[in-house]
């Protein structure tokens, strides 16, 4: 975990007022420890992503929450898919094959 000062110093192009606004809009949430804001590695990576979206890709400030929310939903879905895949991978081969066969038959399958 690093402090906000260190995050600002090590993240190229990150402007303090932008970071304050992103925290205010709950786009990134630091840990609050004894009145000090601390950023975990995932939070730092999230700030880095916000910088790329805002500065490099020049996504509008108003659009930022929409893009981030969609990405969060995608990642959450992927995490669940992986958990499901892990659960299926732990089953007997016959069960795995049944699941695959059922998936192959699902409507609207993209091939």
């Amino acid at each position: 975990m690093i402090r906000m000062d260190d995050l600002l110093a090590t993240t190229e192009g990150l402007r303090p007022d932008d970071l304050d606004r992103w925290i205010g809009a709950a786009l990134v949430t630091p840990h609050d420890e004894a009145g000090m804001s601390l950023f975990t590695a995932p939070a730092c990576a999230r700030v880095q992503l916000l910088c790329t979206l805002r500065y490099t890709l020049e996504i509008e400030e108003d659009t930022l929450p929409v893009v981030l929310s969609l990405m969060d939903q995608l990642y959450a879905t992927r995490a669940e898919l992986r958990a499901l895949a892990a659960a299926v991978a732990g089953q007997e081969v016959s069960v795995q094959q049944s699941v695959l066969a059922a998936l192959a038959l699902r409507p609207g399958k993209v091939t």
Binding site: L57, L74, R82, A86, A89, S94, Q97, L100
Partner: protein, 306 residues
């Protein structure tokens, strides 16, 4: 290290605005968080970023153009700290290192198979053998004894020819190779397993390779002996009831049982005689018995009454 102009797809004369626009376009295409399954996206994005870092700064661009630094040298100079990407964390602690799963290969294969993906999956499509299927097939006693050819229709309308071997046993499993579910991506089909459920017979009872049968005989046949027709699993045959046979007498018909699957030898049929009285009253028999005094006293109940 590639020429940064080539990386960004720009001529040497590109303006700052063109460099920025080219980088933005490529970043949008290759950013690892926008391509979470693409393992090469990180390397490509780094290359694009390095090219951009070199060219967006007028001083390093001038030195590169003048041949004072090469692309790799410039990259070393301008090297930024290892940039973490959000995707490395986004799917939770279990997925922290992209390859954090002990069985990542299995997982990726599963995902690729399940979702038809080129995305991060193995280069070779995974071939998998089809699933085995099993059925229970009711079989008449005599079909099992003599062997039979049966056609069964599966749920999907497919029909299967099943050869029931001579002397088939109850709960015997037949394997029909390749008659199960189709394979995946050209894998071999699974097998069909057919379990035989053999119906009991009204008269015949099976014990290993032998057939047992209770055979009713008349009083006359038992006392005087006779030549009679009896049923066997392979049709009726004539046999001799010896004179003086009694209820409980066991006769054997050699090689009239079931064929042993391994030895090929046939078992025997055992007939247990049951003396039966006439169905209706026979006045002559009654009259005879009324005037009959047995020469030898009967001792059958003696043991029971002691």
């Amino acid at each position: 290290m590639k020429d940064p102009y080539v990386t960004l797809g720009l001529p040497k004369t590109a303006t700052d605005a063109q460099i920025k626009a080219a980088f933005k376009k490529l970043a949008r295409k290759h950013h690892p968080d926008l391509r979470p399954d693409d393992k090469e996206a990180i390397a490509r994005f780094k290359e694009i970023s390095a090219a951009n870092d070199l060219l967006k700064d007028p001083e390093t661009r001038r030195r590169f153009d003048a041949g004072e630094i090469d692309a790799a040298g410039a990259e070393t100079r301008a090297q930024r700290p290892q940039q973490p990407f959000y995707r490395d964390y986004a799917e939770g602690p279990g997925h922290a290192a992209q390859d954090g799963f002990a069985d990542a290969a299995t997982m990726e294969e599963f995902l690729a198979r399940a979702f038809g993906g080129q995305r991060g999956g193995p280069r070779e499509p995974l071939r998998a053998r089809g699933q085995d299927v099993s059925y229970a097939l009711p079989v008449a006693f005599l079909d099992a004894a003599n062997g039979a050819l049966r056609t069964i229709t599966l749920q999907d309308g497919k029909t299967l020819q099943v050869t029931i071997p001579e002397g088939a046993e109850d709960r015997q499993m037949l394997r029909l190779k390749g008659q199960g579910m189709p394979g995946y991506n050209g894998g071999a089909p699974g097998d069909a397993y057919v379990e035989l459920h053999i119906d009991p017979h009204a008269f015949f009872q099976r014990k290993d390779d032998n057939i047992h049968l209770d055979l009713p005989v008349t009083l006359q046949e038992a006392v005087l002996g006779a030549r009679i027709d009896v049923p066997t699993v392979s049709g009726r045959v004539a046999m001799t009831i010896p004179k003086g046979s009694n209820t409980g007498t066991v006769l054997r018909l050699k090689d009239r049982g079931l064929r042993n699957r391994k030895s090929g030898q046939r078992g025997h049929q055992f007939l247990t005689l049951k003396v039966v009285l006439p169905a209706a009253t026979e006045p002559d028999l009654v009259a005879f018995l009324e005037g009959w005094t047995p020469r030898y006293p009967d001792t059958s109940r003696k043991e029971m009454l002691k």
